[in-house]
Symmetry: C2
Subunit: 230 residues, 2 copies
Amino acid sequence: MIGGMGSLATAHFLEVLALKCGADRDQDHIPYVALSLPDIPDRSFAISTGSDRPFGKILERARWLESAGCGAVAIPCNTAHFWAPQLKQNLTITLIDLIDATTRVIRKQYRHKLPTLRLILLGTNATMEHNPYREGIGSCPAKDPSQDLRDLSEEAATLISDVKSGRIGRARRNLSRMIHDIRASYNPDVIVLGCSELSAISGNIADDEDVIDPIDILADASIAWWRKDR
Amino acid sequence: MIGGMGSLATAHFLEVLALKCGADRDQDHIPYVALSLPDIPDRSFAISTGSDRPFGKILERARWLESAGCGAVAIPCNTAHFWAPQLKQNLTITLIDLIDATTRVIRKQYRHKLPTLRLILLGTNATMEHNPYREGIGSCPAKDPSQDLRDLSEEAATLISDVKSGRIGRARRNLSRMIHDIRASYNPDVIVLGCSELSAISGNIADDEDVIDPIDILADASIAWWRKDR
């Protein structure tokens, strides 16, 4: 897997993977190589400014994993999946697509409410602007979507930045308050923790019925890939 | 770093590394390759039965990291350090030695109580039997050391096995109770969480003044290695 986007989120993904794989002893856990070279340019900033610079770095890492003998690549970063189609085109091994897997889970879990599901996505500015979870699913239940999204996006960006710089206590309190406010203001059907830094600090929040955690789903998809044909 | 001994402990080490490195943004975090191929034979069983089988597998992984361009290797597993001297002999890159680093911290932190420090080590059977933290430091403050060590060792082994198989809630409760009982029975100066699975579930326990967490120290040592000459 490609790590470093960010480093705490990488560790969290590996923790979820270890806890969910159902192994009874060390030897039955899932083998992996985590390549965490975090000097990939800021994905959200690049997308917002029309730059493809992170893509080259991500592809370089994916190809390194490919040549190291990995059978699939997982990337615990929602924003990086902006380049998922190009990555797939340039790899001979599987990209375990976080967005595809999460979209499938949302569609299945909320099938009776599609296509007008009231979905709130939290993530980096670029993820919230481009919302990869929107297609055919539903929309943001806001009064003034553009203004409400801007406010949420600013709050989410502060939270994500707090996690990346280790201000975990503050980030946890703010995420909890933010989820509470979102429920009160928008009454959404589902809130997606669309940034792996949010997943990393979500704790019990991710267990709530109306919360979707893509990192949890990526772990399930990775385990399913590993088990397939074994 | 070499992971998979065990997988949850690997994720925990990477989490501590991310939290302690003091980075403000993704790009300033420490780069690493985590090679987690967990099919290394049980270290404790091998040591207890006089087998060197795990050593070959661990060396193979260390050499792979060496040829991948890593400048140092960290192994978040106390028991595996039984083979640290041979590993160092067979590598051209640094092994960031968990046992050495922890011993240095204990010697510094408790220098006024040496060499009769009352130290209780928890870990795998082999780690507790061979106690790598004993030399020149102190001894087990037990009434009947052989019997008391056997009882503690059995309890610790159950705990470690619970962590490896994902029974985290039970393991946490039992570790907390065990630490409480140890304080009441032996009044030690220091309790060493000498297995990375114990570190992984220790939570607030690791912050107690009389508790030493080698994984926390390994993260500090890894960060110090990375910062040196940079």
